[in-house]
């Protein structure tokens, strides 16, 4: 589904990604771990199409298409989703309107008519239940006045609404207490199918107790220095990153 080959990216002339290679198949969950500043968030931003980063070389094929050629909204419409580490507040735009606009923009792209009000409400109700979100959230401004945990749950809710093929969750566990983390993880597990895939970027092994990855990558200094099965996460938890960096 996703093939990243020799990806180099920089911001303001400073190289952050220095040749990343990852291959993700449908039905898989990949975890990307790594110390601060290793390039994890840059990788997710580049995949989602953030224009502040410049891709200097390498390629990313998503479902056989050159992902880097597409605008952020086109990537989303083709089933890519980024769960933000720091979800943005949009005062004045209610969650309902935001989601309705997003879904209809995606439907328009697929030549489908706008979603009916009844269908949309039903979907909202179902998906809010996935992350145990209160109905009162829907009328509030997007992420406005939300706690850290509520913002992250809102990301998972949006993911559930948009039903992506490939979801990248950027440190969705940061700032979450254990209960909120369980809700977020349960949401991901409910949405997982043999046809979609997840890339979970995390700092800690903790989240991976609840979301079991098929492959764990360690990113350091802009490169994947180790890829292995889920046991790698446990090893990192126990031994830190030094043995990988120096080994």
């Amino acid at each position: 589904m996703l093939k990243i080959k020799g990806l180099h990216a920089s911001i303001d002339g400073k190289e952050i990604l220095k040749g990343v290679d990852i291959s993700v198949n449908a039905g898989e969950i990949h975890a990307i771990m790594g110390p601060n500043g290793s390039g994890k968030s840059t990788l997710s931003s580049v995949l989602a199409g953030k224009e502040t980063f410049e891709v200097t070389s390498g390629e990313v094929l998503y479902k056989g298409v050159d992902l880097l050629e597409l605008a952020p909204e086109e990537r989303a419409r083709q089933g890519l989703f980024l769960g933000f580490q720091y979800p943005v507040e949009i005062p004045g735009v209610s969650n309902v309107n935001f989601m309705k606009t997003a879904i209809n923009e995606q439907r328009k792209y697929k030549n489908l008519p706008p979603i009916s009000a009844a269908e949309f409400l039903k979907m909202m109700r179902e998906k809010m239940a996935v992350v145990e979100m209160d109905n009162s959230f829907s009328g509030r401004g997007v992420n406005v006045g939300f706690s850290g945990g509520e913002k992250k749950r809102n990301e998972i809710f949006q993911m559930a609404m948009l039903n992506p093929t490939l979801a990248i969750l950027d440190e969705t566990d940061s700032g979450l207490d254990i209960d909120a983390m369980k809700i977020v993880a349960a949401g991901v597990n409910k949405l997982k199918t043999p046809d979609n895939a997840f890339i979970v970027i995390t700092h800690y092994q903790r989240l991976l107790d609840y979301i079991i990855p098929d492959v764990v990558h360690v990113l350091f200094n802009g490169k994947i220095i180790k890829s292995a099965g889920k046991e790698l996460a446990l090893e990192v938890e126990e031994r830190g990153y030094d043995w990988l960096i120096n080994g």
Partner: protein
């Protein structure tokens, strides 16, 4: 004004052309029309509100003492090519003791003529009265319209004015407010949308003459192309006007690098036990917010529109009448989309 229109110059059209009549008027609203400054018919609404012709151009609105009118009056003033002279209009609004009423003032032009309209609106809010006024301005690119609001607010009276400026070459709204009685409240809010070479000027003088009054101002603007917005907000607190609370905010969103916003907050405080604040900002689109929306599949132009609507949101939220708020929200949206025949209820794009 150079050419004050005389009544004899005015050719009266017996019937208001169909296309100007709103097919779906706001529920609970009685409409009155003013053509080139002349009130077409006098109106009395059960519950104590009346609208009469002023001796010159303009109208006299009165909410009787102690009245509480469920229906609100909508005065639709428009200029058309039947009179392209410069005109002066003088309106008087009386909110008598203990009355409670709402008024919607809409101004339009119906042709591309170079209209110059100078208007004075004297507003007297008597003791304990509640006045709720929404002003909607939607005029052509050749229209210059200056409105001079002069407010006198008595003790325990409360007035709220929300001005929504959608379009016009040069629209100026001046407010001179005198809070004369204790516990008077004045809430002024405005949203202006300007593009092309349009210019919107807001000049406020908020005078706290006695203790224990509250005033607040929130004015926001979205500026595109080479448009200009000027905001001057002066708060004067008299020496003995203790316990005054006065707040002012002016925020501008600049869509184009050629647009210009000038903000001049001025505070003159002569009392020592007051709570006053002011804030003025000019900013551009939030790139993080745009990227967030685009990452959800929302196209760039739609994302920009959402952000502008979000910026306008808190001013529109100040409008109490929910149906009116919804209509204005729709008009603001169609204005920002650049498709200004969105409101199909009449040809005026009124609300």
């Amino acid at each position: 004004m150079a050419n004050i229109m005389k009544e004899k110059d005015y050719k009266y059209t017996p019937e208001l052309p169909e296309e100007f009549k709103c097919k779906v008027p706001l529920p609970g609203t009685v409409q009155a029309f003013v053509t080139n400054g002349i009130l077409r018919e006098e109106i009395t609404i059960d519950g104590g509100v009346s609208l009469k012709t002023h001796s010159g151009n303009g109208f006299i609105y009165e909410a009787k003492e102690g009245s509480c009118c469920k229906e609100s009056l909508q005065v639709i003033s428009f200029r058309n090519s039947q009179n392209t002279n410069d005109i002066s209009i003088e309106n008087e609004l009386y909110f008598r003791k203990g009355s409670d009423s709402s008024l919607l003032l809409c101004t339009h032009t119906l042709s591309m003529d170079k209209f110059i309209t100078q208007e004075v609106v004297n507003i007297e809010v008597e003791e304990g009265a509640k006045a709720n006024i929404v002003v909607m301005q939607n005029e052509h690119n050749a229209s210059t319209h200056k409105v001079d609001f002069r407010l006198s607010v008595a003790a325990k009276a409360c007035i709220k004015i929300n001005v929504i400026t959608l379009h016009g070459a040069l629209l100026e709204n001046d407010f001179n407010v005198k809070l004369r009685g204790e516990e008077a409240v004045c809430d002024l809010n405005g949203l202006y949308l300007v593009d092309g070479k349009q210019r919107v000027v807001t000049d406020i003088s908020m005078n706290h003459l006695v203790p224990n009054c509250l005033s607040s101002q929130l004015f926001k603007g979205i500026l595109d192309n080479s448009s200009v917005a000027e905001f001057t907000g002066r708060i004067v607190v008299a020496p003995h006007a203790q316990k005054t609370e006065a707040f002012q905010a002016n925020h501008n969103l600049l869509i184009s690098s050629n647009a210009k916003a000038y903000a001049r907050p001025q505070l003159e405080i002569y009392a020592d036990d007051v709570k006053c604040s002011h804030g003025a900002t000019s900013g551009v689109m939030d790139q993080e917010g745009l990227f967030y929306m685009r990452s959800r599949g929302i196209g760039e132009s739609e994302a920009k529109l959402l952000q502008q609507l979000a910026f306008a949101y808190d001013v529109l939220e100040k409008i109490d009448n929910e149906r009116l708020r919804k209509r204005l929200y729709d008009l603001v949206e169609s204005r920002l989309r650049g498709e200004f025949n969105h409101c199909e209820n009449c040809s005026m794009n009124c609300c």
